[in-house]
């Protein structure tokens, strides 16, 4: 088992200094997601501009290195982008995580997110990596006024 494949430097960096952390105003929706197995949680807010741009994603997360780093990377990837594009990135990240290590990530799409390719080989940790992404999708759709 290759520990360094899991704990890539990029992941540990995001973990030690997470981007966009904290809860901010304004926001249209706020969600609270839990990983029932371990108790990791995230409270996450989404602020959409009138034109559908993801203006801000702010969060308070308690969890392991993987889940914290994932939240940080996610905000880098979605803030300032049109919601559609952000959701496409979400789909790409989901595919990577569910690929059991067989999916080759596209760096143009996932940027620092490619560091999570190794996580996909650790089934128990996939949920950690997905926690904040799932919360983002849920909150974004609510903000957009769609049923979540």
């Amino acid at each position: 088992m290759d520990l360094d494949a899991l704990y890539q430097e990029i992941i540990l960096d995001h973990y030690r200094s997470p981007h966009h952390a904290g809860l901010r105003e304004p926001f249209e929706s706020e969600v609270h997601h839990v990983n029932p197995t371990c108790g990791d949680e995230v409270t996450l807010r989404v602020h959409l501009a009138a034109d559908g741009t993801v203006e801000d994603v702010s969060y308070a997360a308690e969890g392991c290195s993987i889940s914290q780093a994932s939240a940080s990377v996610m905000t880098d990837l979605v803030i300032g982008r049109p919601l559609d594009a952000a959701l496409e990135t979400h789909a790409a990240f989901l595919e990577l995580m569910q690929g059991k290590g067989q999916v080759v990530p596209d760096e143009d799409v996932l940027e620092d997110g490619i560091a999570f390719a190794g996580v996909a080989k650790f089934p128990a940790r996939v949920k950690c990596a997905l926690l904040s992404w799932m919360a983002f999708k849920d909150a974004a759709l609510q903000a957009q006024g769609e049923p979540s």
Binding site: M1, V34, P36, T37, F122, P123, A124, R125
Partner: protein, 411 residues
């Protein structure tokens, strides 16, 4: 003989117990598969491998063994989903047996005074008692389809039975006593017209027919591991996602929660919502291997084999004076469980005499007292075959019945 499994002798070798002798060194003739099926080596080996090499608790454990065990357990869910042609793996709930699966629905389905539940007179007790208890608790009322003289569902009063107000129609796909295969897809269609949910007891169907939950159009389907060459200690409740989502939780405890505080708890999504506590892990591994084994042989081929053997059995029984069979006499209308009476000899005594010749059958009411009552009998002898049953075993049974008659001096 048409329809027999061409590789029957090879298949028999897969089942170690069939090499056993009983009763002073006679070969075992196991004709009690509707009660429980025997287990192929591949199922036993899968369980042993799990216990010796991968045992750990699931979901909650992050270590290597935990990941292996979780993967094996969830792979079993995939295999069962494929076996049932379920649209989603999350619709497969592991229970301890078919009885728990049926009780889960009967305990949680919302019923109230004025509501009606419809069952049939040929149900196994496990699909009667839970609904009696549910009606008693809720003030709903219970009614049922009767039976025709040849052991089929009497559908003549279906219009007066399936009326608005009926919330649940629960019935068996294949009768464990009469062998009857019921027109479940048609009944499901009719039940849905009045807005009722349909609960199918597939305990006897899953072993011998291709079960396609989408084609049959039911809302819930239950079966039990030990009758599909899997172990005891595991059963399955399949339910449509929306139907399962609509039910409140059944058992409370570990793994079925989203979050717990002393004041209040919230629930995990299906399937976990209905899988409180440590699930039957090694049993799921065994069940996965079992349904894979059956699918590998082919359910269509197994069904054809069962019908061929049953036809041969019915012919054999017809040759024995004093035997009367309950249920359809046409093998193509039924599954491989055949209950019969032998005039002048009580079923216990029939079973005992057969056992002295190594032949295992069941005697009693087979957990279907109302169906026995319907036909005015208290108990019957039941011979039931499976994919490993040979025509020679049926011959042994018929010889054994003649011997029984001579032993008890009935003609």
């Amino acid at each position: 003989m048409d329809g027999l499994l061409s590789d029957l002798e090879v298949i028999r070798k897969d089942f170690p117990i069939l090499g056993r002798t009983v009763a002073n060194d006679l070969p075992l003739v196991y004709l009690d598969s509707a009660n429980t099926s025997q287990k192929p080596q591949v199922v036993i080996d899968a369980m042993v491998d799990h216990l010796e090499n991968h045992n750990a608790n699931i979901a909650r454990a992050m270590h290597t063994l935990g990941a292996e065990s979780t993967e094996a357990f969830e792979a079993a869910r995939d295999k069962v989903a494929a076996f049932l042609n379920a649209p989603s793996r999350d619709e497969v709930i592991f229970t301890k047996n078919a009885t728990e699966a049926l009780n889960l629905v009967a305990r949680t389905f919302p019923l109230g005074p004025g509501d009606r539940v419809v069952i049939t007179e040929m149900e196994h007790h496990s699909n009667i008692v839970p609904w009696q208890l549910a009606c008693e608790r809720s003030g709903a009322s219970l009614s049922w389809f009767g039976l025709t003289d040849d052991g089929q569902l009497d559908l003549s009063n279906i219009d007066s039975l399936l009326v608005p107000g009926v919330k649940v129609v629960a019935l068996t796909w294949v009768s464990n006593m009469l062998g009857t295969i019921n027109p479940v897809a048609e009944i499901a269609r009719r039940a849905h017209e009045i807005g009722a949910v349909v609960v199918l007891d597939a305990s006897q169907a899953a072993p011998q027919l291709p079960v396609d939950v989408q084609a049959v159009g039911a809302d819930f389907v239950a079966f039990t591991g030990h009758k599909v060459v899997g172990p005891t200690g595991i059963g399955v409740l399949w339910g449509r996602t929306e139907a399962l989502d609509a039910l409140p939780p059944f058992l409370g405890g570990g793994e079925m929660i989203a979050t717990v505080s002393m004041e209040k708890s919230t629930w995990a999504p299906i399937p976990h919502k209905f899988e409180a506590g440590t699930p039957p892990i090694v049993e799921a591994v065994g069940l996965g291997a079992a349904v894979e084994y059956l699918s590998h042989v082919g359910l269509d081929r197994i069904h054809a084999h069962e019908q061929a053997i049953t036809r041969y059995l019915l012919d054999g029984l017809a040759s024995v004076g004093g035997v009367s069979v309950l249920g359809p006499l046409d093998a193509s209308l039924r599954g491989g469980a055949v209950s019969f009476e032998l005039a002048g000899v009580h079923p216990h005594d029939v079973a005992q005499l057969l056992d002295s010749r190594g032949i295992a059958v069941r005697a009693g009411h087979h957990c279907a007292k109302p169906a026995h009552k319907r036909f005015g009998v208290q108990s019957t002898t039941r011979a039931s075959s499976y994919l490993y049953t040979t025509p020679a075993e049926i011959d042994a049974l018929i010889d054994g019945l003649e011997y029984t008659k001579s032993y008890f001096k009935v003609s």
